[in-house]
Chain length 350, copies 2
DNA sequence: CTGAAAGCGCTTACAG
DNA sequence: CTGAAAGCGCTTACAG
């Protein structure tokens, strides 16, 4: 019994199936390709017997010839942001449903991303998906020169090349501004995260421009520096040093908002939403928990992920894809307990 | 320019390097194998020129011969528990540092895990690591019969086969009991999660046995059903229906504890730690956040992950590994703000 | 120490 | 519609 465990079962190959069926390996092979020229009857015989024998084509041997690996390389680096683990697991499931496998590259420190990418590229992924905000842009070039087109998820590449899937962050920022202003806030603050991340830049732009359009003082800005709980927390403490008072805050994303709220409550003794209102962006799972009940601009994640998976499939099949970037309308603003209407009650006015 | 993007750069092969150097492919190949018989001078010449030409061995062609893929398959399924994403990303980094690549299989519904595993196995991973609490145990057999030894992380397999890395959950449960009792709690509750998970069973055993040893009433038990925030929250509400009052609670893990605390505070208006003390298990990142400040039994994660990676490396190299399971002492109990000393002050006694 | 040759498991023109 | 043969990029006995 312990012997059995030592000896690896010999893998069943085309040759075995061919011999068993008295056919050539070519015929057996053809049965597995929908496009191949083969009698329908032969195909079904082969397929049936093959599955009885437990045969599955060896993808390594296949890819040696086809130059296709059915592998999607996924690069993840923005670890303190729960948004990405959620996307990673969800998207992996979807990719697998289309027959693609996910090879994961994780970089804790930005400096080590190069090694991780290099290792991954040696497996010749058909396509690479980047779930990472802070990636040196030459990673894209390296992937593409290794033959793998690159999809940026929730982000545009710095140089505008590569494919991109994201939502209209600017419109999201405008929604946040409208919501705060509609509810009577006039002293706004934007909590910025990674300075050059397109998500950050766009959300800030939409928020600030809309505030000005609405005739409110231009929002003040605090730079948290990262998309993390800790950065948000520190930003919360920093509000103490602001030149002017604030009553409404829009944070670069949910995890920053959650940290910010804690910083402001724990560190400064302010109350959310009684003293200030706070809005996040993403609608990560945690935002809905009773512990946080964060008002936030949802991302249309299902749409975005489906688009990414479809794009990955198309690129992996060498289909021509015209649109380099796809933008989705941001989801609705989800109102929970971190914002509050500061307008005088209509009853009071009358 | 857009043309360049279309044509994939031809990959450099051994043949190219051999031709360039006027050597045989065999010699070039040998330069890449530390054990191979080759003049040291030849090796360095080859290695240098190879890297100039941008040559990297094709792992698919290699594995066709060596039967080794350098791939570690990782199966993840327990998604609502943040513990696993944390481990996944951390461990992936460590595996990559040893030259192994991670192929990910995610199963959202337990029924779909089979497909995911099957797809992954077609890539012949050298070893499979299971980061999932609720996995049908025949997945192990399938992996092993495909030639991939299986490592269970943070869990023992149901049938005791396969390799396992975990911490001494029973000792952890005892620590929790001791801490609560030392601080004057006498009316204990254990919040159980997935009923048959070894982690759950062992933590419960240690906690309850120690409570009895210490002469306290046997803890009451609530079954939350899952390792999730929601399950913990529901369990919190369920305390209302308990036969006897409680003052100290040990939850199956952190995410259950965090949910439980919210359930109890939001739903029942109790205060933690003033009315009841709560202890978790794992010490996930979130447990340290000001929002939660959860008292918890830490897992010795660094040790566990290093052991898992080393074990993976050894198994992938066909080394004989004697110990099927490795247990580490649980980390220390980290006291934060969800527990409170209920003993009368020493001053009062005097 | 090095090279020529066989072969890993497959796919795909090319004949028939 | 099917089969024999070449070849993908590599490694590894086997000679020399």
């Amino acid at each position: 019994m312990s012997d059995q465990k030592q000896m690896k079962k010999q893998r069943v190959t085309v040759k075995d199936v061919a011999r068993d069926l008295g056919m050539s390996v070519a015929t057996v092979s053809r049965a597995f390709y929908p496009g191949a020229v083969i009698a329908e009857k032969t195909r079904s015989t082969v397929l049936e017997r093959a599955s009885e024998l437990g045969y599955r084509p060896n993808p390594f041997a296949q890819s040696l010839i086809t130059k296709k690996t059915q592998i999607a390389g996924v690069i993840v680096s923005d670890l303190p942001n729960p948004f990405y683990p959620e996307v990673l697991t969800e998207m992996t499931g979807k990719l697998q449903a289309t027959g693609m496998n996910v090879m994961l590259a994780v970089a804790h420190e930005p400096e080590k991303i190069d090694e991780a990418v290099e290792l991954m590229l040696s497996y010749q992924p058909d396509v690479v998906i980047i779930l990472a905000v802070n990636l040196a842009s030459d990673a894209r070039e390296r992937c593409e020169s290794a033959g793998a087109p690159v999809i940026f998820f929730n982000r545009l590449s710095a140089d505008g090349l590569g494919y991109g899937i994201s939502c209209d962050n600017e419109a999201g920022g405008r929604q946040a501004a409208d919501h705060l202003i509609d509810q009577g806030h006039t002293k706004l603050l934007y909590v910025s995260a990674f300075l050059h991340a397109s998500t950050n830049v766009e959300r800030q732009k939409g928020f600030c421009e809309r505030a000005i359009e609405r005739g409110v003082e231009p929002p003040q800005i605090i730079e948290a520096g990262r998309f993390s709980y800790e950065a948000g927390y520190a930003a919360g403490l920093d509000t103490k040093q602001l030149a002017k008072p604030i009553d409404g805050v829009f944070c670069a994303n949910d995890i920053v908002a959650i940290g910010f709220i804690e910083g402001v409550q724990e560190g400064l003794g302010l109350r959310v939403p009684d003293d200030i209102s706070v809005i996040g962006f993403d609608n990560i799972t945690m935002a809905g928990w009773p512990s946080h009940k964060l008002t936030t601009v949802a991302q249309p994640l299902d749409l975005m992920m489906s688009a990414a998976v479809e794009l990955a499939r198309a690129l992996a099949s060498d289909e021509k894809v015209e649109a380099r970037t796809q933008r989705f309308a941001p989801g609705r603003l989800i109102e929970r307990n971190t914002t509050k209407n500061r307008l005088p009650k209509t009853g009071d006015i009358k």
